[in-house]
Symmetry: C2
Subunit: 105 residues, 2 copies
Amino acid sequence: MTDTTGGQLELLVLAAVDAGASHGYAVIEALRARSGGAFDLPEGTVYPALHRLEAKDLLASHWADGSGRRRRVYQLTSSGRRALREGRRDWRAFARAVASVVGAP
Amino acid sequence: MTDTTGGQLELLVLAAVDAGASHGYAVIEALRARSGGAFDLPEGTVYPALHRLEAKDLLASHWADGSGRRRRVYQLTSSGRRALREGRRDWRAFARAVASVVGAP
DNA sequence: CTTGACACCTAGCCTGCCTAGGCCTAGGAT
DNA sequence: ATCCTAGGCCTAGGCAGGCTAGGTGTCAAG
């Protein structure tokens, strides 16, 4: 309903994968944990984001069929690492811009 | 095209009005100036936002017909001031959450 | 043998920013 | 006289994308 990620979803997912979350479910848990509960994203948000990122060649994936539970394991591509760096930069610029409008108090 | 306000548009507009931007065009200029050019919002973004905020009773307006050029002059309502305070709080929580996921470097 | 955690997927709703137009006045330039 | 630019306002509709709500299946515990 209310967009909790504020347009930063793909950056968040890239950062989670970069931080070691190798598959979709782990990304969801990592985002919840690392944000202190602020980002408790439904699967219907995260899985399509992973697919979009793969379509953009920022993530690569393969099936890991380790005995029973199948997982799609993701890793950053080189474009993905670059996009993450740029995303961090853009995020900081954006946050500064909002702060300068909204004020310090 | 690319959503430059990241879901923070109404907070930004409230903050601009609070900072003295009394009418729509002034809000646009204030956001551009105070953000160092980061928020260069089209009229088609800002005017509907002002209307939404007024519909929610966060802003009140009246026509100022000062010789020729007509302007719709806005001011924060008490609900608007409260919403601005809450919006600042929520923004800071959100920014912290993103930062904690995305990391410092 | 049912519950719940783990794990994946997607059609379509809905919100809301933006594009792309429209309208009008004032003042300077041509 | 006429055009252009800046100021000032407005809205229909495109479209992106987060989320709802449903689906599939495995595994361990009670």
